[in-house]
């Protein structure tokens, strides 16, 4: 049972602090008077962390795939800094990362953090950045996606999605079973570079192919709203799963136009091979197999629970290049 009482002023540990969302969150928290210390866990060199010169931020490089390093992090610097909240953002962004090593990073690292945090002397709360990609998209499912919407589980689901679902469930199953408060934020796709956005990668080409005859509604989140939702979750005392929708709900074709791209409808069977070819030639990360469902059927996150509990309402639309 969640019995923890968190102080109003909180020390925060951010994994994936050197990702665009992590870095932005750290910047936001620096200017938040309710935060004392921030432990910024990076995958890369901590000395190169852009906010390293700020006295309230302590960057630290940790290989989260190694359980020993995670233990040393939590029962070393995190205990010394009296961390209250862990914000877990670390997740492979590229679908190229596959196999057991990717799984260890995406899922096992989180499993380890939860297990250690449950017996940690100061950590009381975990905020996990999950993803709308965990939801299944199918013709017989609702357009408006609530937190109880079916998850995208199956043997044919790509590892990129499967790992996200498993990480999400790993956090969910511990809710209410320990003193650790757990909040899982299932975020709409953040349309920004470096965030692992499949849509951003797809829109990078001057020509965007899409399945002919379909124009589903999609919902997109800005970097500002993503960090705002994390900030609100850090200072909340509520457990639960929360959908985090963005301020932009629009059809796929309108998205292509607003990004200043040319959309070309092609027959469905050609989509997969076309984007496999693009990936091989130019190294892009967009995979049609990951996006097939939402390129056919509308899916818009219902953010009612986040609004009512976290007081999060999307306020910053995506900065579209073409008005």
């Amino acid at each position: 049972m969640s019995e923890s009482v968190l102080p109003d002023r909180r020390n925060v540990l951010i994994t994936g602090a050197d990702t665009p969302i992590g870095e932005r969150l750290a910047r936001v928290l620096i200017s938040d008077s309710r935060v004392d210390q921030i432990l910024a866990v990076c995958g890369g060199d901590a000395d190169l962390y852009p906010l390293a010169d700020n006295s309230r931020i302590k960057p630290i490089q940790v290989d989260l795939m190694r359980s020993r390093r995670v233990r040393e992090l939590l029962f070393g610097p995190a205990r010394d800094e009296q961390i209250h909240v862990v914000v877990h953002l670390a997740m492979h962004r590229s679908p190229r990362a596959r196999g057991s090593r990717a799984h260890a990073f995406n899922v096992e690292a989180l499993r380890g953090i939860i297990a250690l945090a449950e017996r940690h002397p100061t950590i009381e709360r975990l905020v996990l950045r999950s993803d709308a990609a965990v939801y299944r998209s199918r013709r017989d499912l609702p357009v408006l996606i609530g937190e109880e919407h079916p998850l995208n589980i199956g043997v044919d689901v790509p590892q990129w999605v499967r790992d996200r679902v498993e990480a999400d469930i790993t956090a969910c199953v511990r809710m209410g079973l320990s003193r650790l408060q757990i909040a899982v934020l299932r975020m709409a796709e953040v349309l920004a570079p470096g965030t692992g956005s499949q849509m951003f990668d797809w829109l990078e080409s001057p020509v965007c192919f899409r399945p002919a005859g379909f124009d589903p509604m999609i919902n997109l989140l800005s970097l500002e709203d993503a960090t705002s939702s994390l900030q609100k979750a850090i200072f909340s005392n509520d457990d639960g799963v929360f959908n985090i929708p963005g301020a932009d709900t629009l059809p796929l074709t309108a998205c292509i136009r607003a990004w200043g791209r040319l959309g070309i409808p092609v027959a469905e069977p050609a989509m997969g091979p076309l984007y496999r070819l693009r990936s091989r030639i130019s190294g892009h990360d967009f995979r049609y197999g990951i996006n097939r469902g939402r390129f056919h059927f509308s899916g818009v996150l219902d953010g009612t629970r986040a609004r009512d509990v976290l007081r999060f309402v999307p306020a910053y639309p995506v900065d579209w290049p073409v008005a």
Binding site: D140, P142, G213, F214, P265, F297
Partner: protein, 282 residues
């Protein structure tokens, strides 16, 4: 649709008057940003829907209707009617009739079978003009936001009926009654006369349906719908929201009784309309 709302509006202006465009400006819908609601409806595509359905409504089927006063100006409501005609022209005519005869205009959100949203082009055009796939989550969200639903409780068995069984209602399913009770919405029965005779059925092919992604394909005896006269009659609202509490929606007996009342009301409207009409084409 692959084209922007501005083009839809330009196309619609071929048929839709400036006054009607102005009226559509008062359309009740929840803009989720970029002018669309979360389900894909856009007022300019509603106008485009008028371009498609309007000539059929005005000239081909020459629709006569009455009882629009039963449709509430605002708030959630469920229109439940008979389904027939092998292709859902009856839904398009009710859609057009409600849009034209409500002020401020309301778009009835037609609930379609699951296969409809997966039909290329058709699914998208329908979604832009208000149709939604018939899942519990979709209907809940719409009723909670005060929308008007259009449901055919006979389902697909209703639309594909042999000629000799026309005007014989298939047993009503109970989903519409459950929804109305749970979300405190009145049910407005509607009887549609004319659709039954528009496309006499020759054969129903399940084999053809498979590659097209639909359960069955009706093969009509005529290549185009006959110019039958459509009559759309709305009955008195059934105030389930006053008679039952939302919890009663879990009681199978209650929803069955309400569905039976709706079926009886639709049946009465059909019999009344059939008695009044002087001929299929008149």
């Amino acid at each position: 649709m692959p084209f922007p709302p501005s083009l839809a509006r330009a196309l619609a202006s071929l048929y839709v008057s400036d006054a009607e465009f102005e009226r559509l400006g008062d359309l009740h819908y929840q803009d989720a940003g970029h002018g669309y609601d979360a389900f894909g409806l856009h007022p300019d595509f509603v106008a485009l829907g008028e371009l498609v359905a309007g000539p059929l409504y005005d000239r081909w089927f020459r629709v006569i209707s009455r009882g629009h006063g039963s449709i509430p100006e605002i708030g959630p409501a469920v229109i439940a009617g008979n389904h027939s005609g092998n292709i859902p022209i009856d839904a398009a005519m009710i859609w057009m009739d409600v849009l034209r005869n409500t002020s401020p205009p309301r778009v009835p959100r037609a609930i379609a079978d699951h296969f409809v949203p997966s039909l290329p082009w058709v699914g998208t055009l329908f979604a832009r003009s208000g149709m939604i796939g018939g899942s519990r989550g979709n209907t809940r969200a719409l009723l909670e936001s005060g929308e008007l639903l259009l449901i055919f409780p006979e389902g697909t068995p209703g639309i594909i009926k042999p000629w000799n069984e026309r005007f014989q209602l298939r047993p009503f399913r109970v989903g519409h009654a459950e929804l109305a009770i749970r979300y405190s919405a009145p049910i407005i029965p509607v009887g549609v006369i004319g659709a039954e005779e528009q496309l006499p059925l020759l054969h129903v092919s399940k084999r053809l349906g498979k590659p097209l992604g639909v359960p069955e394909v009706p093969i009509p005896a005529v290549p185009v719908p006959l110019p039958v006269r459509y009559r759309i009659f709305y009955g008195e609202p059934i105030p389930v929201h006053e008679e039952f509490s939302p919890e009663d929606a879990d009681d199978p007996d209650v929803v069955r009784i309400v569905a039976g009342r709706v079926q009886a009301a639709v049946d009465r409207l059909l019999k009344q309309g059939l008695a009044e009409r002087k001929g299929v084409f008149l």
